[in-house]
Amino acid sequence: MKCDFCDQKATVFLTQLVEGNMKKVCLCEACAKERGVTDPTGFSLADLVLGGAPAFPVPGGAEPFATPGGPAKACPSCGFGLDDLLRVRRFGCADCYGTFRDETLAMLRGMHRGLRHNGKTPKGLIAREAKQRRLSELREKLESAIASESYEEAAGLRDEIRNLESA
């Protein structure tokens, strides 16, 4: 069997996940070494292959997305561009996932067993967020209560806010 990158005899065989399909990649000794695939300790290989280092070319893998016309979209938080995402298939920051939501969902199709997280959640974070949401709700209500001179309601809201803040 020949190397996918040159005409040498392939000695290293890898399986790579490309767009949700298993793809066999055959490399010769030299190409494997060049791409860091012959690491004798190997443990990082799964990440290298499954994660795909940015420079790792996908043999025969067509670019699945057409870059839309006009200036490429960029993440407002970190400046990472849509063209970067399509090229390296990596994200720049947590907010990129919101910025490039549609592209992300297209990329995820077939990559995993599902499209929705169904595992562990950071309960502390979620509780803190819920608390913040509830607090701003209460503060808004309090303002309108004061504006409409419903002082009894306002007093109740103040207590609720105080309790929640100290909880």
Binding site: T41, S44, C93, A94, R113, T121, L125
Partner: protein, 375 residues
């Protein structure tokens, strides 16, 4: 804080086996590992961050990780402060990734003293945490690691999305951020010529399989790794249950293959084990490939009664200690490949000195044990 030399002076917990080292399952399953990827919410991911941003994330991460109870007396080192050989030793011990070893300032490794937990700071993700144990212990690894993760949530704000789960640099880790894997020793399946078939079946279920010392299907040392690929859509426990089931089946196939080989062709098995023993006990120059392959057969011998079962621990420790960076650490200096081959052979002879010659298969031929005499 623990010194590097103290950390690596002792073998990792998993190398000395822990409970059940001699049972049938451990013969095939050397280690279980679980890794979780986490990122900070308000910091750009390490690969995209500039130097200052990386350092800022690092300064948030490091105290949080060092404050974890099991990490109180851990080794904690910035990668810029470690020599290439020291970093390579950590890679050989599976404590950090090769990519991580290539990093310097602003990246760190925090490693529990018994090497059961390790944390990579500013790897591809802000935090990569790992738990490793001997034998088939994936659930235990996950539970232990998840508890530390939960503890970290108190002080760190992780990037999390209700629909997509934990947000990672690479979408292949999205969701749980979990990669669970087992390192398997499958000489029986290789000798019986069933390895491809078994690994293909595993592959079909959507699990990743590869030779640990990645050279095609005939992996050096008959060492293989099976891991999950999907991280989105299922609870961690479901992924681990599936892995445990499949790995248990592979271990069962390995056990059957060994039994069948001993029944059908005991002479061939005894010959291989005897030769491996002979070379390892008497060689004065041995490269890592040859050493690895013979140690693999020696380990098979320890799992099939040719040697005491404790010899498995000797083999697992040697598999680590004969690797290039370990040899150079042992020698205290950089070694040429020829020098390595000599020192590797010295270590093997010394450690195997008290291992008696294989005994099995000589005097238990009660029925048809005669040599057929054919030539």
């Amino acid at each position: 804080m623990m010194r590097f030399s103290t950390l690596v002076k002792h073998p990792a917990d998993w190398m000395t086996g822990g409970p059940g080292v001699a049972d049938g399952e451990h013969a095939a399953v050397i280690t279980s590992r679980v890794r979780l990827a986490r990122n900070l919410r308000r910091h750009p991911f390490p690969g995209w961050a500039n130097r200052e941003q990386r350092v800022a994330a690092f300064e948030v991460l490091r105290p949080a990780v060092e404050a974890l109870a099991p990490m109180k007396k851990a080794f904690s080192g910035e990668l810029g402060g470690l020599s290439p050989v020291q970093k390579q030793v950590l890679v050989e011990r599976h404590l950090i990734s090769r990519e991580h070893a290539a990093r310097g300032e602003g990246s760190a490794a925090v490693i529990e003293r018994r090497q059961r937990f390790s944390f990579m700071l500013n790897e591809e993700d802000h935090l990569r945490m790992q738990s490793i144990q001997a034998g088939m212990r994936l659930s235990a690894c996950f539970e232990a690691l998840s508890a530390l993760d939960t503890e970290l949530e108190e002080s760190l704000e992780f990037a999390f999305d209700a629909d997509l789960g934990y947000l990672t640099t690479c979408p292949t880790n999205l969701g749980t951020g979990m990669r669970a894997s087992a390192m398997l020793h499958l000489p029986g399946l290789v000798l019986a010529d069933q390895i491809t078939q078994v690994l293909q079946a595993v592959h079909k279920i959507g699990l990743a399989v590869r030779g640990l010392y990645g050279e095609g299907t005939e992996s050096l040392g008959n060492l293989y790794q099976i891991s999950n690929q999907s991280t989105l859509g299922e609870p961690e426990e479901a992924v681990i249950r599936r892995l445990e089931r499949v790995i248990g089946q592979v271990a069962g196939h390995e056990r059957n293959a060994r039994e069948k080989l001993l029944e059908d062709d005991p002479g061939m098995v005894a010959d291989k084990i005897g030769r491996a023993y002979g070379v390892l006990r008497h060689a004065h120059l041995i490269d890592s490939k040859e050493a690895l392959n013979h140690l693999s057969i020696l380990r098979l011998g320890a799992g099939t009664g040719f040697f005491p079962a404790e010899a498995i621990v000797t083999c697992d420790t040697l598999l680590m200690d004969i690797q290039p960076a370990h040899l150079q650490l042992h020698a205290g200096r950089k070694l040429s490949p020829d020098e390595r081959d000599a020192i590797r052979a010295d270590i093997l002879r010394e450690r195997l000195e008290s291992l008696d010659a294989p005994t099995h298969g000589r005097d238990d031929s009660d029925d048809d044990g005669e040599d057929s005499g054919e030539s």
